[in-house]
């Protein structure tokens, strides 16, 4: 009963936040509503005992990705008026894509999966699903998992090498040399005879 109330509360907040992401006038507010959407969907996942997914969603998306998003959105100077103009123009296209996605999802998943009254199946040995997930991921699916991570690594390296520029005349510090510096290298003490008193 209590879980049902929580489910509808989280769902309502999630839908509201998702709508606010695209309707908010201020881009920073949009990003914050997206953060709210992520946190509430993490709450929904917790309700079906998927605590690993929920925590990872908060950790990766809220904790890292959205911080960088916010970082970028805060610094760019967006002209809200032109943005609103574009919103109205691309609304039909957006609605069409949404309808297509809903259609595809309902074909793939079907109504039967959403009305399953059993809920998540508890593990046979009563262990946590984090352990079960880890076991499956690192035994049965270890190659797909590792290939996916290598592809991500390649993407990171490619993105860095595409944007890296080598400018001539850049003055870089060498921290190793800085640490090795001794007082004798920087300061020369000169012994001088004092001037004789007249």
């Amino acid at each position: 009963m209590f879980q049902l109330v929580l489910f509808y509360a989280f769902s309502a907040v999630l839908i509201g936040a998702a709508l606010a992401v695209i309707t908010a006038r201020n881009p920073v507010h949009s990003v914050l509503f997206l953060v709210l959407a992520f946190v509430t969907s993490a709450g929904l996942w917790l309700l079906i005992d998927a605590e690993f997914l929920a925590i990872v969603l908060v950790l990766v998306y809220v904790g890292a990705v959205m911080v960088l998003f916010l970082f970028v959105v805060m610094m760019i100077d967006v002209d809200v008026a032109t943005l609103r103009d574009g919103f109205n123009r691309s609304l039909p296209l957006g609605l069409g894509i949404v309808a297509l996605i809903v259609l595809e999802l309902s074909v793939v998943l079907g109504g039967s999966r959403f009305s399953d009254p059993r809920g998540p199946v508890p593990l046979a040995d009563g262990g946590s699903n984090i352990r079960a997930l880890g076991e499956v991921m690192y035994t049965q699916y270890v190659y797909p998992f590792e290939i996916a991570s290598v592809i991500l690594l390649v993407a990171i390296v490619a993105a860095i090498s595409l944007t890296m520029r080598r400018r001539p005349g850049r003055r870089l510090q060498d921290p190793g040399l800085q640490v090795q510096a001794r007082p004798e290298d920087r300061l020369r003490i000169v012994k001088m005879p004092s001037e004789p008193r007249k």
């Binding site: 920073v28 914050l32 953060v35 605590e51 690993f52 925590i55 990872v56 908060v58 950790l59 809220v62 904790g63 890292a64 911080v67 960088l68 916010l70 970082f71 805060m74 610094m75 946590s128 984090i130 352990r131 921290p175």
Partner: protein
């Protein structure tokens, strides 16, 4: 008297009893924590005072002991000024957002064997997720203030926290490889058997990385470019006064206490006594026994280190902070994770 209370207690419906117990447990964690935070500020001023050949606060109460209470009362009665061009809603939410995760993370911290509010399986992940949430309060405060200095502070905070979180996460991976669990309670239990069983010995580089990154995560000196008084006045909280400022202040000190507790729990055996299994000394009544007092001692030591660093080190330059995080800590942790992998495989020493 006690019987009648118990009789009344047993007549309350089960659901209310469970919720009431949880609320009482939360109060039993949060209220002492706020006390620790209040007297940490006092300790900070005293410790730094003596390190700089001063006495520190000594006017309010005996030896200045009532100073934190006087400070809190003063902050509570101050007017909250909201800048005219500020974003009102976010300006008010920001301090709350920074204080909230600092408190919630304590839900999974064990204070003695089994003495934990929620002994969840993914305790370590939960803490990582919540500490990464804390940066929002700082970023929003900087942005909503609509002030250049505050905004610069917020930008620095975002960059610094994202960089050091990676190193912290990698250091934690070493701990969970050694302990074979994400439960903080199990991690402590895996270190049983005297101080030579604690993880700071086999994981020494990770211990250093985690501790230094923890100092950087909490924006304490020498990594406090987020506030950097000499450069950007007070950084993200420059426009805040009264309780708004007090919440940021509380969050910073609660986070310091959390990091100190985590270092003690993950690397220094938590509530375990270092004299466990030591002949003669291990039999001592209080010192040889495991318990909350050992955790408190270790946390106090690390908190003292926070104050010590503040009094000793000059502030890092911004680019050097970034270099330390990305070019030093992350390679060190990756190399040591490979070493830990070999340790785990060969069952090295008393640790694995």
């Amino acid at each position: 008297m006690l019987d009648s209370i118990l009789a009344i207690w047993s007549q309350i419906p089960e659901a209310i009893r469970v919720s009431a117990l949880i609320v009482l447990k939360i109060l039993a964690i949060v209220l002492p924590l706020l006390g620790v935070v209040a007297y940490l500020t006092y300790a900070e001023r005293k410790v730094i005072g003596y390190m700089q050949a001063r006495v520190g606060p000594n006017r309010v109460g005996p030896a200045g002991l009532l100073q934190p209470i006087a400070d809190a009362a003063k902050l509570a009665f101050k007017e909250i000024v909201i800048p005219a061009r500020a974003n009102r809603a976010l300006f008010i939410i920001a301090p709350v957002l920074s204080f909230l995760p600092a408190l919630v993370a304590w839900a999974v911290v064990p204070f003695a064997d089994g003495a934990v509010l929620a002994n969840v399986d993914a305790g370590l992940l939960f803490i990582l997720a919540l500490t990464s949430f804390g940066v929002y309060g700082i970023i929003l405060a900087g942005w909503a203030s609509n002030s250049k200095y505050a905004f610069l502070g917020a930008m620095r905070a975002a960059a610094q926290m994202v960089s050091y979180e990676l190193a912290m996460g990698f250091a934690l991976i070493g701990v969970l490889m050694a302990a074979n669990s994400l439960k903080l309670n199990d991690i402590v239990l895996a270190q049983q058997g005297g101080f030579w069983h604690w993880y700071f010995i086999p994981l020494f580089p990770l211990f250093l990385v985690y501790w230094i990154s923890g100092v950087a995560e909490t924006n304490r000196l020498p990594f406090d470019v987020v506030e950097g008084e000499s450069e950007i006045v007070a950084g993200f909280h420059v426009e805040y006064g009264g309780m708004g400022f007090a919440l940021f202040f509380l969050a910073e000190y609660a986070n310091m206490t959390l990091i100190a507790t985590l270092v003690a729990t993950l690397f220094m055996g938590g509530w375990l006594s270092p004299l466990e299994n030591v002949p003669v000394l291990g039999q001592l009544p209080l010192l040889g026994q495991n318990g909350f007092h050992w955790l408190a001692l270790k946390v106090a030591f690390f908190l003292f280190c926070f104050l010590w660093f503040r009094a000793t080190f000059p502030r890092y330059r911004y680019d050097q902070i970034m270099r330390l995080g990305w070019k030093v800590f992350i390679p060190v942790t990756i190399v040591w994770l490979a070493v830990v992998g070999v340790f785990v495989h060969t069952g090295f020493g008393p640790w694995f």
